[in-house]
């Protein structure tokens, strides 16, 4: 709830003190930020009667001085330029500027220079710089996400841009939570280290500016005490050392933990096909900012071509988003039956009272009807896709490759599926990738055979993609124990699970994130693998943990986080990523990165 309510609070505060008719002006990023937490009808209640994009509004010439302009933008160069043009020829009566992150002084200078007509009434920084798609899951929707796989020398400004956006997003989350975190990062990932360090610098800068961080108050009090004691008694060094223990304890007791990990530590999760509702819709169709675009999947009535899947607004979705496909089918059938009963009773109008009841309950009836049609359409679409691509068969193999051992059997199974005509190209590619990730070292000859077969079967396959993946996320590059075969305890656990059998073959995979969360809960996250930034050190267990995955999160992982939070372990997890991945997006990022890497080596 934290993320969504923080974003909503910010938007409320922006709009509440300004009376009269307003126009809300957003840019392409803030429109996502606002749309997922605020609805159009709520805006209308706040008297915002027009919503525009800052780049299109610059082109129009109509003067609407009876409206007050509320700008909510990211503090980027283009936005400042747009604002300059707007302020030089203002179209609206008043302007109120809100920025989603910190402004540089030069930017304020530029704005002040162009505000000759003095229309700007306030300039504020409201740190809603993340897209809060679920209560414990946020994303940043960064288009140039693939840059994280490339070394810094290839495109330094592009990589810097990516890092800046991520650092801005993460600091906005902590500013919205009003906490100052202790930062840990994955040792083996350069970009994670870079982001951790840059975030630390930015947050320290904020602390120096004495911004409202709760921790800082306590810390300064202790520091003052130390200063007084030092000056009065003269036993300086000794006292400070004694006090520093207290200092640390106080700080770590309240400080949340920020853990920055790299997607390449767990490349398996984005490649797998999903069978729980939200993850499945994203994998097969695609969810963007909680909207699903069904227009490409055949003829649908106009109001079902694009639908909203938000756990905040849809009670049925909220209870069923983490259920697997079979259970969803049952729930939907129940919902349809309920609805049909209501519909039948509505058709059976005989007395005046029935009529009155029908008219009274008509809005709810309409809403229910819309909701039922939406879910039925989605499930029908997904069933169709599952049928076409033989996903039941393919996914069983995938889960086997991800969870169970047995190289020989796996090789045979993958070869069979590659020979199967009805399996699509992308599924073949995924199978080979999963095999390669697991059995990278075990039998190179057979691996080569698979590569060749893949290349011969799939005409659109870009050669070398699997090898590129192995170079990025191979066994030597990974920190975590992805397959549970590195230490004895995990091997024993796997064997026990194999003997016990699993409840559902299709959902047996647990993302690596689950293990990371367990280690954090038990306080056993190894310093060797996940060092601290700077000289911070946290002894106890944190109460709030924000895990940021550079390269993107998946809905399977957000499900893991949500279930973990629901189990009341005393620690609250929040998950964030640069994008939300599905297998298509992950493969696209890989291809982009491979293309750029190839072209840069050609140049060099």
């Amino acid at each position: 709830m934290v993320l969504v309510s923080a974003a909503r609070d910010y938007v409320n505060r922006m709009l509440q003190d300004i009376s009269g008719m307003k126009v809300l002006i957003l840019d392409s990023q803030t429109v996502s930020i606002v749309s997922v937490v605020y609805s159009q009808s709520e805006l209308l209640q706040k008297e915002v009667f027009l919503v525009e994009m800052v780049d299109s509004i610059s082109k129009s010439k109509e003067s609407m001085s009876h409206l007050k302009a509320v700008y909510f933008l990211r503090p980027t160069l283009e936005n400042i330029q747009h604002l300059r043009r707007q302020l030089a020829n203002p179209r609206f009566g008043e302007s109120h500027l809100f920025f989603s992150n910190m402004l540089k002084d030069t930017q304020i200078h530029i704005l002040a220079d162009s505000d000759e007509q003095e229309v700007v009434q306030q300039v504020q920084e409201y740190y809603a710089d993340f897209v809060a798609i679920d209560p414990y899951h946020f994303t940043l929707n960064i288009p140039s996400n693939h840059m994280y796989m490339l070394p810094a020398v290839v495109d330094p400004p592009g990589l810097q841009h990516l890092c800046d956006r991520i650092v801005d997003g993460i600091s906005a989350v902590f500013l919205a939570l009003k906490r100052r975190p202790v930062i840990r990062y994955q040792r083996t990932s350069d970009i994670a280290k870079r982001i951790a360090q840059e975030t630390s610098v930015k947050i320290c800068a904020l602390h120096v500016l004495s911004e409202p961080f709760i921790c800082s108050l306590k810390i300064t009090a202790v520091e003052k005490m130390i200063y007084l004691v030092n000056n009065s008694s003269g036993m300086q060094k000794l006292m400070y050392q004694q006090e520093s223990g207290l200092f640390d304890f106080r700080r770590t007791e309240m400080s949340p933990l920020l853990l920055i990990v790299d997607r390449r530590d767990d490349p398996v999760t984005p490649l797998l096909n999903q069978w729980t509702y939200q993850a499945m819709v994203h994998e097969l169709v695609g969810i963007h900012d909680n909207k699903v675009d069904l227009s490409s999947t055949g003829k649908l009535p106009k109001d079902q071509q694009e639908v909203v899947l938000s756990s905040e607004q849809d009670a049925f979705f909220k209870t069923n988003m983490y259920e697997n496909f079979g259970d969803i089918g049952m729930s939907i059938k129940r919902m349809v039956d309920d609805f049909q009963q209501v519909a039948k009773s509505n058709q059976n109008i005989q007395t005046i009272e029935d009529m009155a009841k029908f008219v009274d309950s008509y809005p709810e009836y309409r809403k229910m009807h819309g909701n039922v049609s939406k879910h039925v359409t989605l499930v029908t679409e997904m069933s169709k896709i599952v049928e076409e691509r033989r996903l039941m068969l393919v996914s069983e193999r995938e889960q086997d490759l991800a969870c169970n051992g047995g190289q020989v059997a796996a090789f045979e199974a993958v070869t069979n599926l590659l020979n199967n005509e009805s399996v699509s190209d992308i599924d073949r590619l995924r199978l080979v990738m999963l095999y390669a990730l697991r059995y990278e070292k075990e039998s190179p000859v057979q691996l080569m055979q698979l590569f060749n077969k893949l290349a011969s079967r799939s005409p659109k396959y870009k050669p070398g993609l699997v090898q590129f993946l192995l170079k990025q996320a191979g066994v030597d590059k990974r920190t975590g124990d992805l397959y549970g075969n590195r230490d004895l305890l995990n091997i024993a656990r796997n064997m026990a699970r194999g003997l016990k059998g699993v409840e559902n073959v299709y959902t047996q995979h647990q993302p690596l994130l689950f293990q990371t969360m367990e280690s954090i809960i038990k306080g056993r996250l190894r310093d060797v693998d996940y060092p601290f930034v700077g000289n911070h050190f946290q002894q106890g267990r944190p109460q709030d943990v924000v895990i940021f995955v550079v390269g993107g999160t998946t809905y399977e992982e957000s499900r893991s986080v949500a279930l973990q939070n629901a189990s009341n372990s005393g620690i609250r997890f929040i998950l964030g990523g640069s994008v939300v991945l599905n297998s298509k997006r992950f493969l696209k990022d890989l291809e982009e990165a491979q293309r750029i890497a190839k072209s840069s080596t050609n140049v060099v």
Partner: protein, 302 residues
């Protein structure tokens, strides 16, 4: 939740830059003196700046009024006419709301056991109900006037204002209906209670039948009106939780309709230019000219 207010710094910069800008913009002779605040402005300022900047040329004082430097201050124009309509509707809605509160009180009073026969209570209730329904009807008619044609930003604002008022109206109608139905239900229960006691009083029996008819009529009437209003408003009201309720969807739609509108306008322009009328007219003029020339030739030759 952390925020930071940058308004003071902004104002400081703005005032500083304004004082720099004012002298340089008011006369052309000062254009050579930039950034240091030369030229027009009070004498004292000029002296001090020339002391501070001995290198600057001494530029003559400008006779222009420095107050003109705000080139063309934004004329806060009057809002367009439809804003008056929307304000009127909003005022009606407010009036209806206050009347609803009175109606609720009247309902409560009428339901309480009393000594009189409650006719005046009934009258006040009927009167209030009719007033409210009248206000809602009037507002609904005026709402239709708010709609505008053509894809412009103004029409989007109007559409949104319409939607917001439609939602308010619909909510009011539903509330009215609910209050009425609970009142009528309570009344019916009371009557049945009374009838149970006075079985022998034929007068009462006669009256209760008539009252039952009245009640039914009232129910039918209110249901009818509510259905009417809801049908008219349902086009305008946004269903919460659907795609239409999303801000980004509405922006996209606006963009596409504006583009569509532009395309249509351009197409219309082109067809009009290419239009048959213009062609015919040009052809006729040419033919007239040709005929005239032939006529002149004929008279000259013969």
């Amino acid at each position: 939740m952390a925020t930071r207010n940058r308004t003071l710094i902004f104002r400081k910069y703005r005032d500083a830059l304004k004082s720099v800008r004012v002298p340089t913009s008011s006369s052309p002779s000062t254009s050579s003196v930039r950034g240091g605040g030369g030229g027009g402005g009070p004498v004292i300022e000029l002296v001090s700046t020339s002391l501070l900047n001995p290198n600057r040329k001494y530029a003559p004082l400008s006779t222009e009024d420095p107050g003109n430097s705000s080139k063309g201050a934004l004329t806060v124009g009057l809002p367009p006419a439809w804003v008056d309509v929307s304000e009127e509707i909003a005022a009606n809605v407010q009036r209806a709301r206050t009347k609803m509160v009175e109606l609720a009180k009247a309902h409560a009073k009428a339901l309480m056991p009393s000594f009189g026969d409650g006719k005046e209570d009934q009258l006040t209730i009927e009167g209030l109900t009719q007033d409210i329904t009248g206000l809602l009807r009037k507002s609904e008619k005026q709402l239709k006037r708010l709609a505008a044609a053509g894809p412009s930003e103004d029409s989007n604002v109007r559409k949104n204002v319409q939607r917001s008022l439609a939602t308010d109206l619909q909510n009011l109608s539903m509330e009215l209906r609910k209050k009425q139905s609970t009142y009528l239900k309570c009344l019916r229960q009371q009557k049945e209670g009374q009838d149970g006691d006075d079985l022998e009083m034929n007068l009462n029996g006669g009256r209760s039948i008539i009252d039952d008819d009245n009640l039914d009529d009232m129910v039918v009437e209110s249901v009818n009106e509510l259905a009417q209003i809801m049908k008219d408003l349902s086009v305008l009201v946004i269903d919460q939780g659907t795609i239409v309720d999303r801000i980004d969807y509405n922006i996209q739609n606006v963009a596409t309709t504006v583009e569509e509108g532009l395309k249509q306008l351009q197409k219309a322009d082109r067809t009009q230019k290419r239009g048959g009328m213009v062609m015919c007219a040009t052809v006729l003029v040419i033919m007239c000219a040709v005929m005239l020339v032939l006529l002149i030739l004929k008279t000259i030759l013969f």
